[in-house]
Symmetry: C2
Subunit: 218 residues, 2 copies
DNA sequence: ACCTGAACACCGTTCAAGT
DNA sequence: ACCTGAACACCGTTCAAGT
């Protein structure tokens, strides 16, 4: 708990507050950001913070806003439409993982559209290049966005709760795994998120792009 | 704020506490469950609750445990492997949506494996019936579980934050939608989750089942 | 074995008062 | 325009004391 600067006194600015708040969130998550501790960190009275940012909720909102703005563009890589689309989802996932607490905060505040604008634009472009148009293209873009965000949410929660219940093979030995020891082992081991992400995104992209309306009967 | 019963006095049981807590969570979410309000609801001192359930965290844990136990089986429906798998994911999504606050609570507490045991078993069975074995089957099951849970998480957060930023077409008109008005309109309108879920799960199932190792090059 | 009130250490927020 | 301390209404949790 040290002050932001060693110089004897300086006017407290709104950006000072945001910076300190960002540091606290980055270190221990949004839950650990309390107005009082933030004030202590900044060496001011709690009430000064209220003057600069209104209240805790607006503070978090401003924080999210600032982070989203700093996220930067997403560029597709690869030659085929499928690879380019997959590369965009990977870039988006990397962005999200770079700001571990951002996804949940953004979601709780309904800024999703805004946050995913760069990724959406990139996806729209690639999906268009893949030959899709109109409502179908929109569906594909939406499916992919949901997929990536959902995956990251699940992934993050998994990391935070490291030891899963029941944890080992006990559940799958008893015939549940259809007498397939390799399957049982595969389900018992912790998943490799990198691999799983690629696998499922590729499957979805293949499924979405390969779709010919006439072929489908189920 | 009324007491649980009109009979003058009764011994407070652990189940009474859990029941009242469950009702409060169901009504206003886990955040609204405070020990003090719970005590008021039950007409006892706060400290009595501590005697019965330890503390707030164990209370929520017990609640989750009980709900998960009550979730019940999942049965596949349909004739082809693909339809049967999709039916399992739909049933799982319905279960999760039936307990709106459960998913997040379960996740925060690392009970995911346990919660999804019925769905996992059903999926393992169907994936096996589709001809997949070993590690590949495990990957498919995992991908689908991640997909469903992720989708429901995103979906739920979207419902809670109804008006999205920026909200309307303003973003997509300016050439971002590749001069495709139908696409722009599709992205601007709020998604139909039911349709989107089916669409993306089917795409993923197709992609996962249709996979022949030799065919893939990207 | 079960329940109680008092007390502690925290919260977010408001308000009147200072410079 | 900016900062302050005091105060209010909440939290979760502990503890010694009751029956």
């Amino acid at each position: 708990m040290s002050n932001q600067s060693d110089s004897p006194k300086r006017a407290l600015t709104r950006d000072d507050v945001l910076d300190a708040a960002a540091a606290m969130v980055k270190k221990n998550g949004p839950r650990a950001l309390t107005m009082r501790k933030l004030a202590a960190e900044l060496g001011t009275a709690v009430t000064s913070i209220y003057w600069h940012v209104g209240n805790r909720e607006s503070l978090l909102e401003a924080l999210v806003e600032r982070t989203v703005t700093d996220l930067g563009e997403i560029r597709a890589q690869g030659r085929t439409p499928a690879t380019r689309i997959v590369s965009v989802t990977r870039a988006l996932r990397a962005q999200l993982r770079g700001h571990p607490h951002l996804v949940a905060m953004v979601h709780e505040r309904g800024l999703t559209e805004r946050m995913f604008q760069p990724a959406t634009q990139a996806l729209v472009h690639e999906v268009h290049a893949a030959g899709l148009r109109g409502g179908q293209a929109a569906d594909v873009v939406r499916s992919l966005l949901f997929q990536v965000v959902g995956f990251v949410l699940v992934e993050r929660n998994r990391e935070r709760a490291p030891v899963q219940y029941p944890g080992d093979e006990s559940l799958w030995d008893a015939g549940a795994a259809e007498h397939d020891p390799a399957l049982a082992k595969g389900l018992a081991a912790p998943p490799d998120p990198e691999r799983l992400f690629l696998l499922s995104v590729r499957a979805m992209v293949d499924g979405l792009l390969g779709e010919r309306p006439a072929e489908r009967a189920h």
